[in-house]
Subunit: 369 residues, 2 copies
């Protein structure tokens, strides 16, 4: 039976509802959770090579133990091969095994695995059941929930994709044990963001218990990851297709963040790091607009730094960042929709931000070195 102690959230979508399970050792429950989600047929597990052999073997055994005949493919999955060529390799593998409509595709790995394998699942035979097993903190608290799947084109990131909801998201905290410290920080950035935009209590917890959180010891880290997952699940349930005013709030820090990633060349900053810097630029804008006081801006900076996140960028110019924000695909008809805070846990969107205020705020997060 499904263990409801481990249930972080149920996501409610037009494609059905699904559970997000967060626990230490959760991978042992993958078979029972899949049965509970109504899945049958075979399992096609696509794992990042970094999860091989130990984590892959545990998943494989837990699946077979519950009657899922399982095929495994391991791939080196990174931003540089997050493209249609890699998707095609998965198609060929599925074709070779004659994967059918009721078989399940499982993505195991970080954000790239979920996005790319999810796109393959969304499009193989017009969509087969899909399960997310995110193994990085960033994909746990953010990318694995909400059904956004995509790959890159030479012309830009995530230009090709779908809204395709998984049947289950299974997060094993033990998978984080081997995650490099810098990648952990990138994940905390998104989790802290959830507090900043929608939950002052969550922000408070991050500020008060940075050591417990970062050591992942005891219950608090697991509970806090669950709470962050819950926020993402609520936002997605309220605004599945990002057509309303809710899901866009998750883009706090992302307008300048995406620009920083593009201008500095993808890979120099992790996504979460760029978002942290972007959140500082956004807070600077809010301060200049009279929405936030200086004290809160300092508070935001302090919590990000406490989680080993950068709060300034080097080697870029204001002009380059401004130009890149304008080509971000979330702009509509040329005007940028900024996500701004009015206070802890209170995010709003603004379209009327004067460019000189943006420029001044971007300048403040560029370090001279």
């Amino acid at each position: 039976m499904a263990n409801d102690e481990n249930l972080a959230a149920v996501v409610s979508t037009t494609q059905g509802d699904y559970r997000v399970v967060v626990a230490r050792g959760a991978i042992e429950d993958i078979g029972t959770e899949m049965i509970n989600a109504g899945l049958s047929g075979r399992a096609f597990l696509v794992a990042d090579v970094a999860m091989f052999p130990t984590a892959v073997h545990r998943a494989h055994e837990a699946l077979e133990r519950n009657g899922f005949v399982t095929n495994v493919m391991t791939l080196e999955l990174s931003e540089s091969n997050k493209n249609l060529d890699t998707v095609q390799k998965i198609y060929e593998w599925l074709a070779q095994h004659r994967a059918e409509r009721l078989d399940t595709v499982i993505a195991m790995g970080g954000g790239v695995a979920g996005d790319l394998v999810g796109f393959a699942a969304a499009t193989w035979l017009r969509g087969v059941p899909f399960v997310q097993v995110p193994t990085s903190l960033a994909s746990m608290v953010d990318a694995s929930i909400g059904g956004k799947v995509a790959v890159n084109l030479p012309a830009g990131k995530n230009l090709v994709g779908a809204f395709y909801q998984p049947k289950l998201v299974l997060q094993d905290i033990d998978h984080l044990k081997t995650l490099p410290k810098r990648e952990m920080a990138g994940g905390w950035a998104e989790a802290i963001k959830h507090g900043l935009i929608l939950d002052a209590n969550l922000l408070d917890t991050f500020e008060r218990f940075p050591d417990e959180m970062q050591s992942l010891k005891g219950d608090l880290a697991v509970k806090t990851i669950r709470r962050s997952v819950q926020i993402k699940a609520e936002v997605v349930s309220a605004d599945e297709f990002e057509r309303g005013d809710t899901r866009v709030l998750l883009n706090y820090g992302h307008t300048v963040g995406h620009a920083i990633e593009a201008v500095s060349g993808y890979g120099k900053y992790l996504h979460g790091e760029a978002v942290a810097i972007g959140m500082m630029a956004a807070a600077g804008i809010a301060e200049k607009l009279g929405m936030l006081d200086r004290e809160f801006v300092d508070r935001q900076r302090a919590v990000l730094q406490r989680y080993n996140l950068p709060v300034s960028v080097s080697g870029v110019t204001v002009d380059a960042i401004i130009a890149a924000t304008k080509s971000d695909k979330k702009s509509r008809g040329g005007t940028i929709r900024w996500v701004q805070l009015e206070g802890p846990g209170k995010a709003v969107t603004r379209r009327d931000v004067p460019e000189e205020i943006v420029r001044a705020s971007v300048a403040e997060v560029i370090s001279k070195s």
Copy 2:
């Protein structure tokens, strides 16, 4: 304003409702119909090169006249390039013009255009508004309605795709004027199939007025195409994802039809021609199972022949056809779900058909020549 005389059906789906408009000269209304469907932004018209220049220009003018800034791409679209390479060309073009989330992609052409351009629309920026302008009879009465979009892989047809509903389907009967007679027949096969499986009156109309229908003169042909469209729309509205027992009925004649296409090499028989032969094999099975009498089988044969459709296949063996039916992707767990008639307009599914009956019925539709 929208012209409701031309409205054939409203399709109701989880992705929203949409109109299917069928009329002579309907392309003149594309701009007003798109406004009526709530579309704004720019239009990206991808047309089969066969529609260039006249039909493309008329569409372009009707769009611009209603305020849609329009970009046009013409492509040679055929079964042999219905693949991801061609989709990638469309992505590159959309990237070059920075097509945004509220811009509309329009497919103008036959079934390949709708399937392939629809897949590009479904996946560009995770899905942008999509309009179908089918210009072959087969795509009008069948493929353009229901949201099935797909491309081929070397391993098989339509293995990669999505369920992605258009915002509007606009069918201009004038586009059929230049369609080769053989392709018209292939379209009639699907329209007659709708009568056979779900509407005895429609079947009756096809039997009584073959000349009026095939000449496309007068009102009757337009009204009959509308009725066939309606049936498809009702089936799709009842069973959007082909999970129930309704949409599968549209596969009447398709189990053996697909096998004939695969075994004789794609291109030898048009899809509708193969389906016509497949419907004769299915009727033979039903007769042997005691579901249909010989008289009705002869009646089905006569109407198909009257519309210039083949009722037997040459150059294939029973063994090859049987083997191909077993690898059809609609089989689940190995058993084939046969669509059978119990009488005119009355289709059911059967899983328990003995192989010797299938073999005997397939043998009957193989000609010795």
